[in-house]
């Protein structure tokens, strides 16, 4: 048990250091940018009409007059106090922007994560069991096609079919346009989240399915499956009892490793569907050089990715009998 605790502590420390690294990298990249936030946000023409004093005030607002090192140090000390600064575009604390956006993205992310995981696992197992025959070929071809399609194009395609042609589902946003927020029902939110969630789920499937298939093929070719057959176990029982057990460990790694991909996909999908989530906020912040917001979003998404890795490591320990038995001693 002590061993496991030590292991977790080590992982947490490493995760902290990695997050520090992420914040430094993000900051360096943003401050290296030749793009002038005033020109992008205020505009050349507007700047020309302003007095020197006004321009200086704006420069101070966008943090352009502070040296980068000082600016980062200030940001980091604030962060340690739980303050991520104020978003320059939204004029709200970064924490509250992220909180709002994340809570609306979470519905998409979670459902896509679960659906793509389950679907990918099922398809991968099926392809592995019927290796070389038509279900396998079909699934592999489908996965190749999906993994070769840009997520935003799939989103556009689904939007064309289901919103424009069939008119079944709304084309964008997370709530109906022009409706008072108090009148928006959970059903409305759900209806607006269907298409983005479906797109995200579809894009996540192929990676998981292909890897699961490979592992399943390995397992089914193993000596212990041969022996299970020799003992008279039926194919169904073999897949159920030994196959799924054999792919459980790699499946954990795959499932939690897909977190990063899903978040990345959500940036594109939310943009297409104008879904007001974290991904869309990241694009807005990036285009508008909103440094504090972009730093906050990068940090939070990375923390989620690293958290996923950590969860996979810990779950591994709970599932793998070798680690479990050693921990029990």
């Amino acid at each position: 048990m002590r061993h496991r605790l030590l292991f977790t502590a080590k992982k947490l420390l490493r995760m902290g250091l990695l997050l520090l690294g992420v914040s430094i990298v993000t900051f360096l990249l943003m401050s290296a940018s030749p793009l002038d936030p005033l020109q992008t946000n205020v505009g050349q023409a507007a700047l020309g009409t302003m007095s020197q004093e006004q321009v200086e005030r704006l420069e101070a607002y966008w943090g352009m007059d502070t040296p980068p090192l000082e600016r980062y140090a200030g940001w980091l000390t604030d962060l340690l106090c739980g303050d991520m600064g104020t978003s320059l575009l939204y004029r709200q604390p970064v924490t509250s922007v992220i909180w709002q956006r994340l809570s609306s993205s979470l519905l998409l992310l979670l459902s896509a994560w679960v659906i793509s995981g389950v679907l990918g696992l099922l398809l991968g197992v099926a392809a592995g069991v019927w290796r070389g025959r038509w279900p396998d070929k079909l699934i592999r071809g489908w996965c190749l096609l999906l993994s070769s399609s840009p997520a935003f194009w799939l989103a556009i395609l689904l939007l064309l079919v289901f919103s424009v042609w069939l008119g079944w589902l709304p084309a964008g946003l997370s709530v109906p346009i022009g409706m008072e927020s108090s009148l928006v029902t959970a059903g409305d939110r759900l209806r607006h989240a269907i298409l983005p969630a479906v797109t995200l789920s579809i894009t996540g499937v192929s990676n998981i399915a292909l890897h699961t298939r490979e592992k399943m093929v390995d397992v089914l070719e193993s000596d212990y499956i041969l022996f299970a057959r020799a003992r008279g176990e039926s194919m169904g029982s073999i897949v159920w009892r030994h196959g799924l057990r054999g792919i459980s460990l790699p499946a954990i790694t795959l499932q939690f490793g897909s977190v990063s991909e899903i978040i990345g996909g959500s940036v594109l999908v939310e943009q297409v569907f104008s879904y007001p989530g974290l991904g869309q906020a990241a694009v807005t912040a990036g285009l508008g050089s909103d440094l504090p917001l972009l730093m906050g979003i990068t940090l939070i998404t990375s923390a989620i990715v690293f958290g996923g890795n950590l969860a996979a490591d810990l779950l591994y320990g709970a599932v793998d009998p070798k680690i479990r038995r050693r921990a029990a001693k």
Binding site: L18, M30, S33, S148, P150, I156, V267, V283, T298, T301
Partner: protein, 276 residues
């Protein structure tokens, strides 16, 4: 036996040659069509796909087929460039991690974890911003974000080779390190590297298109697929489906071709397949 085997390999080889020819043809045709893609003609705006304009025309009367081919050509060229840079970085960093001792190894592994921890698209966005967006931004962004997985593979491969008995024996016999590296390590590493490189293309192309779509990549004057699709968004609700369908589909086909190319190349370069 040998004859049959040759046939199978020959089939794969034929596919490789054909795929490369198709891709090279698209690339060349795209460069050729670049000017035509920019021609606006307001007498032929918003035409649906037909015999004259296969992919239709847009609101400025530009030929969508020419734009698509020019865009694909640009995508392929950027894909080649970024995949090559990424693979080279992966080769150097992977080899360094495996040969320069534990400190270098843990430092590079840490970097790999760091890069993999930031969602890909976000990282490409950030690097592109740092380079002022545009062509330089998207090339730097895609190049600098795609090396970690291949670097990991190469690191593992070199580590395994370094401790292989026959390499250890050579070193004991006093064969120089350079000679060992050239004679024994490179031939093993090369196939891995090459397939890794080819399999990077699809990712590179898709990420270039995605980042351009979001507005962090190529500028809107360039006939990039990302630009085309991003512009098409405004016209979808008015029923101009062809603006999005064909350019996207063409991109998917090109990426599929690259993915198959990588898969087949892996089969050809895998020594085990020679004994099948």
């Amino acid at each position: 036996m040998t004859e049959r085997h040759w046939n199978r390999r020959a089939g794969t080889l034929l596919f490789l040659v054909l795929a490369i020819l198709v891709l090279a043809g698209i690339t060349a045709a795209g460069i050729f069509l670049e000017e035509e893609a920019a021609v606006t003609d307001f007498s032929r705006t918003n035409l649906a796909p037909g015999a004259e304009f296969w992919f239709g025309t847009d609101w400025m009367g530009r030929d969508m087929f020419a734009r698509t081919i020019a865009g694909l050509s640009l995508s392929i060229r950027i894909g080649l460039l970024t995949a090559a840079v990424s693979a080279a970085a992966a080769l150097v960093l992977g080899t360094m991690a495996a040969t320069l001792g534990r400190r270098a190894d843990s430092a590079i592994s840490w970097c790999i974890d760091l890069v993999m921890g930031i969602p890909h698209i976000l990282l490409v966005m950030l690097i592109s911003i740092a380079c002022g967006r545009g062509f330089a931004g998207v090339v730097a962004g895609v190049s600098l974000s795609h090396w970690p997985s291949l670097a990991r593979v190469i690191r593992g491969e070199v580590l395994q080779l370094k401790n292989a008995p026959y390499i250890l024996v050579e070193e004991k016999l006093g064969v120089s390190k350079l000679q060992v590296a050239c004679r024994h390590m490179l031939p093993h590493l090369f196939p891995q590297f090459l397939t890794g490189l080819i399999l990077l293309f699809p990712h590179a192309i898709l990420h270039e298109a995605s980042v351009t779509f979001l507005g962090f990549g190529l500028s809107s004057e360039q006939p990039a697929i990302g630009v085309i699709l991003s512009e098409s968004m405004q016209y979808l609700t008015t029923g101009r489906w062809w603006l999005a369908l064909f350019p996207g589909l063409s991109l998917v086909l090109v990426v599929v071709l690259f993915a198959l190319l990588g898969e087949r190349a892996r089969y050809l370069l895998d020594p085990a397949s020679a004994h099948e």
